[in-house]
């Protein structure tokens, strides 16, 4: 039980090692073994889910293991999960088998290497969520780059080399600054490579804290990606194979927002408060800008990529609200985006396998030929535009209301401008649905497309079920995040208390506003009731 987390993290890596012993020509064996390994990983990760104690009294990080790794440098193998990391771990282990299954037909060349890359990538992603040591985190973080670089560079489409080099350099350059900041944290008063120790004891001065925050934030902002650091994403997504796009959108982008939640905010709260209006502003710009970019795209994957910029803008806005609602909504929206954008890329991939084009104009009217694909696509679209009853609504509603109620200057304006993303989302997503599925069939090649195969149904149905379940019964997915969210808020409130002692009259900026009508507080049933 104690080692369960480590087993989950490293099982895919061992699976990848195992794959090296299979003959490269046996495509089927590689596929089946990779699928089994990822399924077992998912099964074991359910143990984490059921073993996690989300009560406020439970310890912050569970399944914790500490072991020396490079003691001379103070680097340890320290892993553990809080609720947020737990949810993202589950998202990763759930998506990976589906992705593996989705490649059975799409990937016919170098299957062995492909599966190995996927499994290595899974370990790197799981490790990044689990790591509680800064160097360990950095190692996993950079380790993600290599398999992803290969996935795009080898199995991508025409312009893959440009895209993959761009992806690599963009993210690598930003991460190096984070490494410098990590080294600085270790060298500084009370500093340590151990996350918990550093968070408790770090005594960085105001200006140093700001630089450190910026170094971390830059690495994460590229990964999110936040406007204006987003331009690697459309290229990477467009050129990546379906599996790469799904993992990239589903999990890798969350590394950025997770990084803010886990590292940039709690390690440097003072600096975070300082830069908060800028980041929240960029988040809002990202929401609107990403959506506007979607309107003028002609390539399905590029459109979905820009929509990710918009959706991740929502996540960042929720985090920057520094309210329980906003933070929880942000976490929830990370999951939602993983599920629905993952599903969207899978569906686009299915169309691509049939027609070998991503251009919207090449399609049109195919709903009659592929009614089940069309139905799935519409459901996923609804989730993406946040229709009530789907997961997207819960996330967007929490984020926008949490932002509106934030103790941030002009908070309602951030929320209101962000909410225009709700309109624009409908504009571009429904436009794409209409152009791809509705109307008459003009292109003769679209006349005999096969509908969803059984394998494809197995890939997409779990995601659709999740979309609905997370929309109607969100609480089981919200509850695990609560202790982590509350701890982060409490931490910020403590820092703010200290700042208020130093600068009397500083207005509160953390937490949710009270109702404006004083009498409303006394109204029956308001305090912590079900309504």
């Amino acid at each position: 039980m104690n080692n369960l987390l480590s087993i989950v993290v490293f099982l895919p890596l061992f699976g990848a090692l195992g794959l090296t012993f299979f003959p490269a020509a046996e495509l089927k064996q590689h596929r089946v073994v990779a699928l089994l390994v990822s399924l077992v990983t998912f099964g074991l990760s359910l143990g984490l889910w059921f073993g996690f104690d989300a009560s406020p009294a439970a310890s912050e990080f569970q399944f914790e293991i500490t072991a020396p790794w490079v003691p001379s440098l103070g680097i340890g193998y320290h892993v553990g999960l809080d609720g947020v990391a737990l949810l993202l771990t589950l998202l990763t282990t759930m998506l990976t088998p589906l992705v593996v299954l989705s490649t059975f037909k799409a990937v016919q060349e170098r299957v062995k290497e492909f599966m190995i890359a996927l499994l290595v990538l899974e370990t790197a992603m799981l490790g990044s969520f689990a790591a509680l040591d800064l160097v360990l985190f950095y190692v996993f973080w950079e380790a993600m780059l290599i398999p992803m670089y290969l996935l795009i560079g080898i199995w991508g489409s025409e312009n893959r080399l440009y895209a993959t080099v761009k992806f690599f350099i963009y993210t690598f350059v930003a991460s190096v600054l984070m490494l410098v900041a990590i080294l600085y944290v270790r060298a500084h008063d009370g500093g340590s490579f151990d996350y918990l120790a550093a968070r408790n004891a770090l005594q960085a001065s105001g200006s140093a804290q700001r630089w450190l925050f910026l170094a971390f934030a830059l690495a994460f902002a590229v990964k999110v990606p936040m406007f204006p650091l987003h331009t690697w994403l459309p290229d990477a997504h467009t050129e990546a194979p379906t599996a790469g796009s799904v993992i990239l959108a589903g999990v890798l982008l969350k590394m950025g927002t997770f990084g803010f939640f886990r590292y940039a905010l709690p390690l440097f709260p003072e600096a975070a408060l300082h830069f908060r209006p800028v980041i929240a502003g960029l988040a809002v710009v990202g929401i609107v800008y990403g959506a506007l970019m979607c309107i003028v795209q002609s390539d399905m994957k590029r459109l979905v990529a820009y929509s990710s910029v918009s959706h991740l803008g929502f996540v960042m806005l929720g985090l920057m609200a520094l309210t329980a609602e906003g933070l929880t909504g942000g976490v929830y929206q990370m999951l939602n985006h993983g599920v629905s954008t993952g599903a969207l890329f899978l569906l686009v991939g299915m169309l691509y396998e049939r027609r070998h084009t991503r251009l919207i104009a090449e399609y049109g009217g195919i709903a009659k030929q592929v009614p089940w694909i069309a139905t799935a696509f519409v459901v996923v679209t609804l989730s993406s535009i946040g229709l009530p009853g789907t997961n997207g609504f819960v996330g967007e509603f929490l984020i926008l209301s949490g932002t509106w109620l934030a103790r941030l200057r002009h908070a309602p304006w951030y929320a209101a401008v962000g909410a225009t993303g709700v309109i624009l989302g409908a504009v571009y997503m429904l436009w794409m649905v209409e152009k791809v599925f509705f109307g008459r069939i003009v292109n003769a090649e679209n006349r005999h497309l096969p509908d969803l195969s059984v394998r494809e149904a197995v890939v997409i149905v779990p995601l659709i079920v999740l979309i609905v379940v997370m929309g109607l019964v969100p609480q089981p997915f919200l509850d695990p995040a609560r202790p982590a969210v509350d701890r982060l808020l409490t931490r910020f409130q403590a820092v703010e208390q200290q700042l208020q002692n130093e600068q009397p009259g500083r207005p509160p900026s953390v937490g949710t506003e009270s109702p404006g009508l004083a009498a409303a507080l006394a109204a029956p049933g308001l305090e912590g009731t079900v309504r």
Partner: protein, 675 residues
């Protein structure tokens, strides 16, 4: 809200039944065959309608019914206080109960009608149609029965989705698919306003539950000052003006008011039963329902009330004017719906909430009847919708004709049909109303409303005469046939309802000079709080009711109906053609629906699209990609190229550089440079 409330979790059945029907038909309907699909869909509706009757019996007995309250999602902060906490709670009072009956009753009739109307579809299409229709009813009931603004919003978006799916039901037609998308996007603009209103209410009250909101404003005045949150320092009235204006933007989207009405005429691309159910009887009235539901908030925001009233009045006139020029029977009815919705908003905006709701109910009957009649005509006419090609259908389609005539008279406001009572209760109420922010608004609305009523009488009678009177003008019209009983029976039921609904508006004289309509008295508990705010605690509207506005309205209806008769049946037949020829520009402008779509296309759609394109090319491609992303490597490369000049492996040059450098160093260290 005076009535006691009983809890009954069975209330959820009302929503779950049609939802189950939609699920079954959606997943396996195409394999079941049409008969079974219809059986499932109608079975669900009958069960829902019967349950609704049971619930309504309790409402009539003076009780409210509530259900559930289980958390949907809720976030407790570190301090354990939940500002955002959404529960699955339903609530039936006299207002939502009345709507409940309308939705399930009219819904059931339209389901029955559709079994025949849609019988030409293949199995898959048939199943898809009833899936959407059942789903719509479930969403609409969520909207109506939800006990908080959030649940209403859930239904609000849900009906929007069904509307989108049903307008674009024949999706292989690009134009129809486009109309569906246009409806959805326009509604989303409204929903944006709804969200802003909802968030504002959350930050004022910390709750979105209707009961709690009503409790929270009890005893509060417009001038109460807010003490916390984004609106601290604002007065309650000011903050609520923002909140209710936001909500009203949502209403303008959903209920097709200026300036967001443009989607509704295009929504006629959907199958006609859909137009009847969604785009006439139920969904489009959701905005009126919302204002009535939150009347106690609107009453605290007189500026919003004035806006609602005025927008309603302008819409009523504007849409009626466009309807004059339309020759498509469904388009005439669509603009008429927009116009009638305007009347309802005059009512709720002027503070005669019951009249707005009463018109909602009567309109549901006669407009559903008109649309279904139009559908019947289209069946007879082989899907032709141009009334210029019709004529003389009265002999071919007697049932359709009689029911259409009754409904036309009802909407026209001819005594004693239901439309007269509901419409004129609105107009008379508006005339008597006094708005604190804009005192003249009631009078203006009365004048505009009366104009619109005159227009209604004319264009509806014109539509009726062109369709049914005279001689057939085309061969198709000459060979038209009556529709099946599955279609005519619902027509008759709705026609009868449009007549007997008049009893809702009957005046009730009682001792001590109390005066009110049956429906007004019935609705009194719902609106008592709002009326108390508007007219002082315990007070009522000034009750010196004059009868002359009613007489005026009646006269107007008769006169305009007569004029239409003369111009399209009688002696003045040449007049319409002459007028059109005399003012061709005006005529064309009217036929083109005042070119509002083109205006929006130019200033909104093109603006956003081109703006996005420019942003993409300039910011994304040139500034970020060109200058930064590829520019920095380019600079590095150039620097590298420059330094490469010194690294070309030529020994002589290295020696020369070393010599020069040594000289410079020596000069700096030893020579003049050192001083």
């Amino acid at each position: 809200m005076d009535n006691p409330t009983v809890a009954q979790s069975g209330l959820w059945l009302l929503i779950l039944l049609p939802l189950a029907g939609a699920l079954v038909n959606g997943l396996v309907g195409r394999k079941l065959g049409k008969a079974n699909v219809a059986l499932i869909a109608i079975g669900a509706m009958i069960a829902a309608f019967l349950s609704a009757l049971v619930v309504y019996a309790q409402v009539l007995a003076g009780r409210n019914v509530a259900a559930g309250g289980d958390t949907w999602f809720r976030v407790l902060g570190p301090d354990g206080r939940a500002m955002v906490s959404v529960a699955w709670g339903l609530w039936v009072d006299r207002l939502s109960g009345t709507l409940l009956l309308v939705v399930t009753g009219v819904g059931l009739l339209i389901h029955i009608y559709s079994t025949s109307y849609m019988s030409h579809e293949d199995d898959a299409g048939y199943a898809r149609f009833f899936t959407y229709l059942n789903l719509f009813v479930a969403a609409m009931l969520t909207l109506v029965l939800g006990d908080s603004l959030v649940l209403t919003f859930v239904g609000w978006e849900g009906v929007g989705l069904c509307s989108y799916l049903l307008i674009g039901f024949w999706y292989t037609d690009e134009q129809k698919a486009y109309c569906g998308r246009k409806a959805f996007v326009t509604n989303r603009i409204g929903d944006f306003g709804f969200l802003i209103g909802l968030f504002t209410i959350l930050s004022i009250f910390g709750t979105a539950s209707y009961a709690q909101l009503a409790a929270a404003v009890k005893g509060q005045g417009i001038h109460t000052v807010l003490t916390a949150g984004a609106f601290s320092g604002w007065t309650l009235g000011g903050a609520l003006t923002l909140a209710t204006l936001g909500l009203f933007v949502g209403c303008a989207g959903k209920s097709a008011q200026l300036p967001l009405y443009v989607w509704l005429p295009d929504a006629m691309a959907g199958p006609t039963p859909v137009s009847a159910l969604i785009h006439a009887a139920t969904m489009v009235t959701a905005g009126v329902y919302l204002v009535a539901r939150t009347s106690f908030l609107f009453a605290l925001a007189p500026a919003t009330m004035a806006t609602v009233c005025l927008v309603g009045a302008l819409t009523a006139v504007f849409a009626a004017a466009i309807a004059f020029f339309q020759n498509d029977i469904k388009k005439v009815l669509a603009y008429s719906t927009v116009s009638q919705l305007g009347f309802m908003f005059i009512g709720v905006g002027a503070g005669v909430f019951f009249a707005g709701v009463m018109h909602l109910v009567t309109h549901a009957f006669f407009k559903a009847c008109l649309f279904l009649g139009a559908g019947s005509v289209m069946h007879g006419m082989h899907e032709d919708t141009d009334i210029r090609n019709m004529g003389g259908l009265k002999d071919k389609m007697p049932h359709t004709r009689m029911t259409f005539l009754i409904a036309t008279m009802a909407i026209t406001g001819i005594v004693p049909l239901s439309g007269f009572f509901s419409k004129d209760a609105i107009l008379a109420g508006a005339l008597m109303s006094e708005n604190a922010a804009f005192p003249a608004v009631g009078k203006i609305a009365y004048v505009l409303g009366t104009l619109a009523a005159a227009g209604t009488a004319f264009y509806m009678m014109r539509c009726y005469f062109l369709t049914f009177s005279g001689k057939p003008r085309t061969a198709v019209a000459a060979h038209a046939h009556e529709s099946s009983p599955a279609m005519t029976v619902p027509l008759w039921i709705l026609a009868i309802l449009s007549v007997v609904a008049l009893f809702l508006g009957l005046p009730r004289f009682e001792l001590f000079g109390h005066w009110g309509e049956i429906f007004g008295d019935f609705m009194h508990p719902v609106f008592a709080q709002a009326l108390g705010i508007l007219h002082g605690e315990g007070g009522e509207a000034a009750e010196h009711v004059a009868l002359w506005p009613f007489a005026v309205a009646w006269g107007v209806a008769l006169a305009m109906g007569g004029l239409a008769y003369a111009m399209y049946v009688g002696n003045l037949k040449e007049v319409p053609g002459k007028l059109a020829r005399a003012f061709p520009a005006v005529y064309q402008f009217g036929v083109d629906k005042f070119r509002v779509d083109e205006l929006y296309d130019l200033f909104v759609v093109k603006f956003v699209k081109n703006g996005a394109w420019v942003l993409w090319k300039v910011v994304d491609r040139i500034v970020i990609e060109g200058i930064f992303v590829n520019g920095i490597p380019w600079v590095v490369a150039q620097l590298g190229r420059f330094f490469r000049l010194g690294q070309n492996g030529d020994l002589q040059r290295y020696a020369a550089v070393i010599a020069v450098a040594a000289a410079v160093v020596l000069w700096v260290v030893l020579g003049t440079g050192a001083r």
